[in-house]
């Protein structure tokens, strides 16, 4: 019952945040200096051109009316017409969502592997040279701009060693995995850089608890203690951090797609910026925000499954 009440409140909050998100995106176009129509048409536009475009985009209607059009469109999945591609935005955007989500999930899987391996390795060798090396290497990775990291991977593994394709997407699933390996690696390593720090300190903290001492005292082998007693409890806070990092992962995915020419949302977003196709930019922003909101909801709800002691107050 308690969980049901929590889920209900959490969903109410989500509806509120979604409402706020639409206000922000709507307000971005209407309250920031700069007229989208003028920006769209460029320097040589006449007043008449601009007025026509205002009419076409509905920018000459009243604010509440425009907001209503925007939101009711969103609810129905109609996000306007792309100015550059001359086709409905939702087709353009939704067909690319699975590609970007696929890449993000791929990166998450790689990040999980790196985090478990290097996080446990660092914690087990606390203060030793392995710990230091892991710390320094992942500090460097964390501070590296993701687009440049991607380019370095291309220079090394594609152009110099010829192990992986330079860019593209492939047509079959094994090909997708093959083509997306380098971008997923770049994203995964950067995500892991944050998570490893967290898992390391949380494993070290958990090692000091009474039940771990008991497990040692009753003669369980070290590996068993680490896996069954320490890791499961230590992972709790790492999951939280992961939820907080998801926004960065989505943003990173969009940027890295432009580096590796992956035909996902990111590529569409940045061609749309260049062609000043703001309905597309708006709807990709909505989609990205919705993904973050949903993942954070899932993370919040997952606590009670990971840890039966969690109650929702």
């Amino acid at each position: 019952m308690r969980r049901a009440a929590y889920v209900r409140n959490r969903l109410l909050l989500m509806v509120f945040v979604l409402f706020g998100v639409t206000i922000v995106i709507f307000g971005m176009v209407h309250f920031l200096p700069g007229d989208p129509a003028a920006v769209l048409l460029g320097d040589r536009a006449t007043a008449q051109n601009i007025a026509d475009l205002h009419e076409q985009l509905g920018l000459n209607r009243s604010m509440p009316e425009q907001y209503w059009m925007f939101v009711s469109g969103l609810v129905q999945g109609q996000m306007g017409t792309s100015l550059a591609f001359r086709q409905p935005v939702n087709q353009l955007v939704l067909s690319r969502v699975p590609i970007s989500i696929g890449l993000a999930v791929y990166a998450m899987v790689l990040a999980a592997i790196f985090t478990l391996v290097f996080g446990l390795l660092a914690a087990a060798n606390k203060g030793g040279w392995i710990d230091q090396v892991i710390r320094v290497v992942f500090l460097l990775i964390l501070t590296t701009p993701s687009f440049w990291f991607g380019i370095l991977l291309i220079l090394t593994f594609s152009l110099a060693l010829h192990w992986f394709p330079v860019a593209g997407f492939g047509t079959t699933l094994p090909e997708h995995l093959w083509y997306l390996f380098l971008p997923a690696l770049a994203l995964g390593l950067q995500l892991a850089a944050v998570l490893i720090r967290n898992l390391r300190s949380s494993v070290i903290l958990t090692m000091r608890s009474d039940y771990v001492r008991t497990a040692h005292a009753k003669g369980l082998p070290e590996r068993m203690v680490l896996m069954k007693h320490v890791l499961r409890n230590a992972l709790m806070s790492t999951v939280t951090i992961f939820g907080l990092q998801f926004g960065y992962l989505i943003a990173g995915t969009l940027v890295i797609e432009t580096v590796f020419a992956v035909p996902g949302l990111g590529q569409l977003l940045f061609t749309s910026i260049t062609s000043r196709d703001y309905p597309v930019v708006q709807s990709i922003t909505v989609v990205a925000a919705v993904m973050v909101i949903v993942v954070n909801l899932l993370v919040d709800l997952s606590y009670s499954f990971l840890d039966p002691r969690v109650t929702y107050e």
Binding site: L13, F16, V17, G20, V21, I23, V24, I25, M28, V29, L32, P33, G34, P36, V39, L139, L140, L142, T143, T144, P145, S146, F147, W148, I151, L152, I154, L155, L159, V166, G247, Y248, I250, A251, G252, L254, V255, T258, V259, L269, F270, S272, I273, T274, R276, Y278, V281, Q282, I284, T285, A288, A289, V292, I293, N296
Partner: protein
């Protein structure tokens, strides 16, 4: 030391001075190795930015088409030249000024605004607090970079717009940090004392609360600067930052991308500059956080 003991005096244990190891002395001075390395690196970067004209033999935007695509370690061009024959070293060095400025300015305003919002909401609580926290909830739902990019797509590319876009979102962490601190401080004795002697609310917030809650926010400043520099470089990589021919690391990497096959140095080298500055600031941030 025994010669100091006068004859007939009571024999007492001689206090041998504790030998301070290097790391203990560091700890005493409030510094640590992480912080020192970071500060030294940052100082070097700032010196490079100041002394840019002395360190560079060429004008960063002067073209010399006869000398294009010279590889690094060429006799006249230490780090080679780009497709227009511009000296890569000179461009990287001059860009230090711009990127430091981006890091500094895009943190300064969010820090001030966020700090003030945090103090006001934390101290006054109530409706003001709920309104701002709901706003934070909404803005946090957006991936930071995506929202910044979306704002930039409306404002148009350029440096000032970059500051505006980063500023619209960037105040949040400072507001959250100072709010939490203020929340804890607002019922402490010195605040109650100030209230009792009749200080006005703005005076209490600015003169009494602020000096005590501002430190955690300043620790975050360095992390914020790393984020700002990476964001700035990413935006200019995407063509939304300072426009060509202004030398900027992200823009240089973007421009070099077309020549990946023939000139790796155009994309690889400017990235190291971002990395050095980023690591310097991260180390300072880590070092300051360890100190607390």
């Amino acid at each position: 030391m025994s010669e100091n003991i006068l004859p007939g005096s009571i024999a007492r244990p001689v206090a041998t001075p504790i030998q301070l190891t290097f790391s203990m002395r560091l700890q005493k001075s409030g510094l640590n190795l992480t912080l020192i390395i970071g500060l030294v690196m940052l100082t070097l970067v700032i010196l490079v930015a100041i002394a840019a004209p002395l360190l560079t033999p060429y004008d960063p935007i002067a073209q010399d088409l006869g000398a294009s695509f010279m590889p690094p370690l060429s006799p006249d061009h230490l780090l080679g030249t780009d497709n227009f024959g511009r000296d890569v070293w000179s461009r990287i060095v001059y860009s230090t000024r711009l990127d430091l400025q981006i890091g500094f300015v895009s943190v300064l305003f969010p820090f001030i605004v966020g700090g003030l919002i945090g103090i006001a909401t934390g101290y006054m609580g109530g409706r003001l607090d709920s309104v701002f926290m709901r706003l934070v909830d909404v803005l946090m739902a957006f991936p930071f970079l995506v929202l910044v990019v979306a704002i930039m797509s409306i404002l148009g590319p350029g440096l000032v717009n970059l500051y505006i876009a980063v500023g619209i979102v960037g105040w949040i962490p400072y507001a959250r940090i100072t709010r939490a601190e203020t929340f804890a401080a607002r019922n402490l004795e010195y605040v109650q004392a100030a209230r009792t002697i009749g200080c006005t609310t703005p005076r209490i917030m600015l003169r009494h609360v602020m000096p005590n809650v501002i430190v955690p926010g300043t620790v975050y400043v360095f992390t914020g600067m790393v984020l700002a520099i990476l964001t700035g470089a990413t935006l200019s990589f995407l063509g939304l930052g300072p426009q060509p021919p202004t030398p900027e690391w992200g823009a240089m990497i973007a421009a070099g991308r077309q020549f990946l096959l023939q000139a790796w140095w155009l994309t690889a080298l400017p990235g190291f500059a971002i990395l050095i500055l980023g690591v310097a600031l991260s180390l300072i941030g880590d070092g300051l956080a360890d100190r607390r």
